[in-house]
Symmetry: C2
Subunit: 154 residues, 2 copies
DNA sequence: TAAATGTGGAGTAGATATGTCCACATTTAC
DNA sequence: GTAAATGTGGACATATCTACTCCACATTTA
């Protein structure tokens, strides 16, 4: 029961974009460096986010990505569903009837409670909640593999 | 973000044992049939539960498994930890410092909330909560692959 | 002593997650 | 107009995990 790196990368990237001055964007390489994610893999993640409608991309020189919505209009549930599809905690809770058990399945109530709890948190949490406190400070930094600091947009 | 079948199988098997008359047990084959789980795989699951201390096993003819605790003394959290180890939702929340980010990781608060919610539900829910209502009724049944009914202990 | 059980661990097939690569279309700077 | 900088699309590769199988063996009881 673990969240995927893709989902984690997606959120980090979106937060990165949300911290930029309004109207500004960032390109793949900048996001990749600041979030310590392989460029080629991040490209795939960003494509999901573009298709999912939360990010817009511009081609060509000086192109890149920017948020299409205000940070408080993007919930983690949206991001989850873009990256992973419908939130489902057990295979047998699918609608395709793959569960061999009767309505009397005793576990169902727990799975439902669990799903509701997770979905609730995802639905309540927006990118705005993930922005570092204290206003638009400097872009979040990560320690790169050499032990130094990587700056976004370097 | 999905729970494993092992966990699901473990719970079903424990509930099966919990529904038997006190002092009675069930053998692999009986559990396997009633829960529609491959015997050889279930054997592995049960070994986990035995080592985890929630189930006792007896060898030899007429051997089998039985619960070591009252159903309301076995929480889903215990079962989860026996089957899957420590509850962790993201790799980077490990204690081994594999996360490359500073304390300022903005997502950490969400992961903590999420973990707390899941853990809370698992901790509050015991096998007793999963027993079918209406007392010790007949053992839970499943539809087997032939479309008929499988009875526990058949 | 034979049959019925659980034990232990190696092995396997398939799925999924993660990551790489390259040819290509688009845009902008010069 | 051309070259460089970007994102796009998809095939490919790799690693890890899940679910499951199999078999030799120890133990117990009829």
């Amino acid at each position: 029961m673990q969240l995927s790196k893709s989902f984690d990368y997606a959120i980090r990237s979106l937060v990165h974009l949300a911290m930029l001055p309004p109207g500004k964007g960032a390109d793949l390489r900048a996001i990749s460096i600041s979030q310590n994610v392989p460029v080629s893999y991040l490209a795939k993640v960003m494509r999901h986010l573009v298709r999912g409608g939360v990010v817009s991309s511009t081609l060509g020189r000086d192109g890149g990505y920017s948020l299409r919505k205000a940070p408080d209009q993007v919930t983690l549930l949206q991001v989850y569903e873009i990256m992973e599809g419908e939130l489902r905690l057990v295979e047998c809770m699918q609608s395709d009837g793959s569960c061999a058990f009767f309505n009397g399945c005793t576990q169902a109530t727990v799975w439902v409670r669990l799903r509701a709890a997770v979905e609730g948190i995802f639905r309540e949490t927006t990118l705005a909640d993930l922005l570092p406190k204290g206003g638009n400070g400097p872009v979040q930094t990560a320690i790169n593999k050499e032990g130094g600091y990587a700056r976004a947009g370097a």
